[in-house]
Symmetry: C2
Subunit: 423 residues, 2 copies
Amino acid sequence: MALAAVGTALAAQAQAPALPAPESVTLDKLGYMTTFPPEGAQRVDLSNSFKYPQMRWALQHLRELQPTHNIRRGSAAPSPLPADPKPLGSVVFDDDKGQPITVDQWLTRTYTDALVVMHKGRVVYERYDNQMKPHTPHLLFSVTKSFTGLMAAQLAHEGKIDPNALVTKYVPELADSAWGDMKVREVMDMTGAVRFREVYTDPTTEIFGYSWSSGMLPRPPGYQGPTNVYDFLKTLKKEGEHGAGFVYRTVHSEVLGWIVSRATGKHWAELMSDNVWQKLGMEEDAHVMVDSVGTPLQGAGLNATARDLARFGEMLRLGGSYNGQKIFDKAVIDDTAKGGDREKFKMGGMAFRPGYSYRNQWWVLHNADGAWEAAGIHGQFIHVNPAAEMVVIKLSSHPVAGAGFTHPLTFKAWAALAQAVRR
Amino acid sequence: MALAAVGTALAAQAQAPALPAPESVTLDKLGYMTTFPPEGAQRVDLSNSFKYPQMRWALQHLRELQPTHNIRRGSAAPSPLPADPKPLGSVVFDDDKGQPITVDQWLTRTYTDALVVMHKGRVVYERYDNQMKPHTPHLLFSVTKSFTGLMAAQLAHEGKIDPNALVTKYVPELADSAWGDMKVREVMDMTGAVRFREVYTDPTTEIFGYSWSSGMLPRPPGYQGPTNVYDFLKTLKKEGEHGAGFVYRTVHSEVLGWIVSRATGKHWAELMSDNVWQKLGMEEDAHVMVDSVGTPLQGAGLNATARDLARFGEMLRLGGSYNGQKIFDKAVIDDTAKGGDREKFKMGGMAFRPGYSYRNQWWVLHNADGAWEAAGIHGQFIHVNPAAEMVVIKLSSHPVAGAGFTHPLTFKAWAALAQAVRR
């Protein structure tokens, strides 16, 4: 029943809404937040920041709307990101309807804010639109999960987290919740069964509890529910059988981040700074949205630049080391990239991701190139293609949240780029 | 009457409360926000962030509590900040009661988080306490005003703001407020007469309207007042005669920032990044708290590191240029440092600042060394002493907000430091 509900929600998301023409919803045209103060329709605030097209502004300006925890890059000079530009924008490929389209047209059609393509460690194509700049941090939504997942996998590799232990070994507060009898591995791979419905038009579904408790959406008048994410997690109940199948749930990532903090005694943002951002030699600080008591949104709240994500992706492609530093053990990267259980994945209702699996909070394509990726709603991607020696970062503000709507086209674009860089 | 009210409020602040022993309110001892999640008394959130001792944490973590606008440092390597350490911590001087005290004891006694002393362009003493680090941004409160004031003075020098024009030339929305018949210069030097009482125990005084509209304090249930700072400013009324005397009012700085944004078409934080932070070669990004529609708190919301403020102070000492860049014209620096009308200053009720004046939102000491300074509640300072070729940055989290309580001691410390560096 849970799986059916997921399928329904995803199918609803995949239905084509009336999309605004991309050129009609550029920030240059919309003029949000450009006067002092912004008046009327020019305002983006908490009441409309996740509405469209206001979201086009919000995804590049989250920290102006929400409290955030900084992820410091450190004091060292940034690691080099050499460029070897190729005219990939004019590469033509057949879209999902069989019609020719160029890479640049694909970017425009999918409301892209930034694209960085790396090949053999060099930036071969880099493009920004919609007022985004190389130094602009962009909200990554569920790409955040993949950072949390790799952190947890590394800790498991080091013996600091036991994937076979119960979640309650680390977070006893969850004893009476869906996670009470769930194993850590079932959280890491999202095979734990928890009732969490995401129907964006139905405020009785649990996604609203998540959004209100985290502060992502303003609370309705008289709201009496949880006022932070961890208190909200305690309210969620089991629905189905743990381990039976893949059930994509943002709340698993929040629990996983909680486990990571308990195992290390450190805040997620400090781990990200110490173990990832500083070691990779990032160009800019990143940041993560926090709730009213400082809990990072470990499943949805990370903000970073496309170039820094390119460094991260390149580190993944190279097996966990970069800039003379080991970020993750190669065994952790290999375990993630080889993927999870494809049969269990089929039960997740994501038919638009045929043949995929999900492992350590990463999507694994199981294609001939061995590709794997992190993905977030509205078009956020870290795509790693080991065979093509390619990494693609795509940050977008697409009007449709769910990946189902754009994925058939995205799939074609990944293939076209992999072919183009190989030439 | 307004001036009397100010005097009363300041006198109340200057009364010695029962101060906690400094060693009893260190963050190491208090343990705020160190567990996941922080429970009960360990929590610092919007309900207690400006209470004591929770404030000790909040002043180093403001962006984890509030929305902020980043002030980017740019991509260049930081400008050098050479060190030439001197044992200034053990320098002994007589405190305001005539008792001997060392510099380090002074720092502890005034709940100091960071101190940087520059002499002839070199860092001669640098100390951090209370978990603060060289890269930690600290809330500067009214030191913020001094940035806004210099920006405005520079624009006036360039002819982009007319100090003799009415405020309404730039901000017609203020026509029906206290600023309706006020000149820009009266805003810059705080001689405009506006009813704005700061009695922290009386929620009918206007400081509460400022705190609620800005979001600095959580709004009471059923709050129907302004939800952003500019809307709040429109509600304030004239009380007294413009230009008659100095009346210290945070709201003047907010109006001045509004004028600056109107004159330049740019957000305060972008001006700070483009014209100040990037040119000075700062080590870290800074940030400013914003209200619900992105308005920066131009009188109270800046956060920066002590080392970056040292660069700023050194630029002031050198007459407006630093790191091979002109930040302000020398005429602007000279006009500010030479001060304003000392007779008018006396009317402001700040007897603890004898002989001072206020010019372009800076405090001018009119002492033999030609010293001038920016100051914020709870012990924030940029102190420039041209004759001693010294700049002092002091960032603190003192339990008493008003400067009156600590100023007699601060004054002695400035003199002791100036004497010590000259040796």
